[in-house]
Subunit: 415 residues, 2 copies
């Protein structure tokens, strides 16, 4: 057992942190410790002016001309290329568009069609519900079979599905537990039986090194508004490995996926490249916010961000162990940082009310039913001292029992 | 033949126009006559401050708390209700979400499932390509048959399809010719053989009275960035008639369509109402722009807007006839205003270059391949004198033959 930590030791870690200057790229509210960047990323300082320019100048003054003059038209590809650099993909394999759910729908149907005759979609029981909802909808629509198993049973289930396996669909980092999958290993296992993989990078893109090409990943989707900081409901993204680009089809054959969207021909001919995954007109105000937000990654090495995310998580667990013993908390995340994304989940019978009380004191995490308190550690703007202060605040909430106030017990629509 | 008009007569019309004050609700660039509101609506004055508030305060300061505190969560329903009031629907029958193309995909598959055993999707040959692309993709995916006929053959094709007809899908106002369909008549014809209708309101919502309920329309989609002025790539909307709400299913079973999105249950249970058409997280920056833009319709009667749109179109055609005879233009739109939406299409062999030259002089319309010059008349901000000045400018472009300059002949990506 190490001797107890002190806050000043953590301040020294912040002082020595090569990523510390990145925090200056964000506008963070006074008096708040924000540990929910895994749900909605913080605001990058240059975004407000960029959005205002898009509204007032590009839209207001340029009007329709801005599709050419302001670079609106190639925004999905340009942003896709920027995201590709963060997830180990080639620039022409990624586009920003639609929502994560819509993109997952596209790639799952695309995968079934790339593997005709195979009808098993394999997923994880504890995956984020929308992934499972979308997959079950796809299975119903396509006459496929959705099999869901526990994480530890995946490799066996892959082997068992064998030549019936069309696609394995998983979230790289579990939204609740933070458990990190072995992307290379599972992808290889799926390939061994001739199946494909479709990874959801919602909780990994922008916070840890993702190596889509190196892992030979076939298909992937991800979220723009978590660690990429693109703003509430920011456009999502979709990745198709180069080798599949000529064959994969999107079920939603919209005009921006056409080989020549502005030729206005009657017949649909998919674009030869990644553009074929596009559907309708890109939401430019949301696109410019996301694109500008990605500037916060300038000069950031993902490996460095990963090391900090692991350290912040380890620190959080250690302080919870040291300071909150006897308060009824459990740790639902892997204690081994190598098996964990940039978040830690605590369990508590009264998790909802405790999280509300904590938020009232300015420490923002979130709650996931039935009993999870979720804390995310976005290394670009979370400091070591923030972890100290967050756990100290949580201790104060528990010691005072203030979470028992009726205002904290009453559920809101979104938590 | 009437005596030639004068500009001062038109200035008097503007003076007497009860909608004239609405123009003050918009920020329009100096020196521009904007006749492309049917492609991208102009900027409503209050939108920049509203978007900035959403970025800086709601996102930057409120962060994740704004899902509850800033009303983000119910934005799709709130905006849907505001749009419903413009299209003759009930508030609970409309939500704002996704793109028009994605929404069309949902309702076409929904329609096929509401009419099991029927496999014909009937459309129009000259409909906007994305509508046809999406419909052909749906037909391919679902083993249905897409039949496309000319507008005048529709009623016959409906009768011919008979009990094989699942759904008729049409755009209420044709994107190119501006031809306006008889919504009540075609809907009734489809219903007579037991089929459904799915109308695309891209070129009618926000510029003329749409009576979805009165016409007994089953399903509809529409665009947020044309006459609704929601900004480039604004969220679209989807309508499902009350009688179908309990049965219709969206093929894209995302979490925001779930009965309890934040219960995080494993099984998908569609929301009992219109929310079931939602998929992923709503793009809030785009949502707030659209919602604020809708304030420009306060106190506006759609019948009045319709009368002005017809009058502007009639005026445009009359001035083209009077002033541009012999320059090779044709009128591709119905000359009878009752059969035309709020736009007029001219044809010209050199339409592309002429439109570029016109835009260079500050009169903005757009070009649609192969030979259409398209002019839209958004009655909230287009004046009668604008029509005079636009035609006079077009005459100057033709008289000077300046459109023959190489800069105007060279095609850009988007036109």
């Amino acid at each position: 057992m190490n001797p107890p930590l002190t806050r000043s030791q953590l301040a020294q870690l912040d002082h020595d942190d090569p990523l510390a200057p990145c925090r200056e790229r964000f506008l963070l509210p006074e008096g708040v410790i924000y540990l929910d960047g895994n749900s909605l990323g913080a605001l990058v300082k240059t975004v407000p002016a960029r959005v205002q320019q898009a509204v007032v100048q590009e839209w207001g003054q340029g009007l329709i001309r801005s599709w050419n003059d302001a670079g609106w038209y190639p925004a999905p590809q340009r942003i896709g290329a920027a995201i590709a650099a963060l997830i180990g993909a080639q620039a022409h394999e990624v586009v920003a568009c639609d929502s994560t759910s819509v993109n997952l729908f596209k790639v799952l149907i695309g995968a079934l069609q790339l593997r005709p005759g195979r009808r098993v979609i394999l997923g994880e029981l504890g995956n984020f519900p929308t992934d499972m909802y979308v997959a079950s909808g796809v299975a119903e629509l396509m006459g496929a079979e959705l099999r869901c198993v526990a994480p530890d049973e995946l490799e066996q289930a892959i082997a068992q599905a064998g030549d019936a396996l069309a696609v394995v669909t998983l979230t790289h980092v579990n939204y609740k537990t933070g458990r990190l999958y072995d992307m290379a290993g599972i992808t290889a296992a799926a390939h061994r039986v001739g199946g494909l993989v479709a990874w959801d990078l919602a909780h990994s893109a922008g916070t840890l090194p993702v190596q889509l090409n190196a892992c030979a990943v076939d298909l992937a989707v991800g979220c723009g508004y978590k660690y990429l900081n693109g703003g509430p409901g920011a456009p999502a993204f979709v990745y198709v490995a180069e080798q599949h680009l000529a064959q994969v089809r999107s079920p939603i054959a919209g005009w921006h996926g056409h080989a020549q969207p502005f030729a206005f021909t009657q017949g649909y001919e998919p674009h030869p490249g990644i553009d074929r995954m596009l559907v309708g007109t890109a939401p430019q105000l949301a696109m410019v916010a996301l694109e500008e937000a990605l500037s916060a990654f300038q000069g950031v090495e993902m490996a460095q961000l990963r090391r900090k995310g692991m350290a912040l998580g380890d620190l959080f667990i250690r302080l919870v162990d040291e300071q909150l013993a006897g308060h009824g908390f459990g740790v639902a995340s892997p204690r081994d940082a190598a098996q964990r994304g940039s978040q830690v989940a605590l369990t508590h019978e009264h998790g909802y009310a405790i999280m509300q009380a904590l938020i009232a004191r300015g420490v923002i995490g979130d709650f996931r039913a039935p009993d999870i308190l979720r804390f995310g550690f976005a290394g670009l703007y979370v400091r070591y001292v923030d972890i100290w202060d967050a756990v100290a605040t949580l201790k104060a909430v528990m010691d005072s029992a203030e979470w028992r106030q009726p205002a904290f017990m009453a559920r809101k629509a979104v938590t």
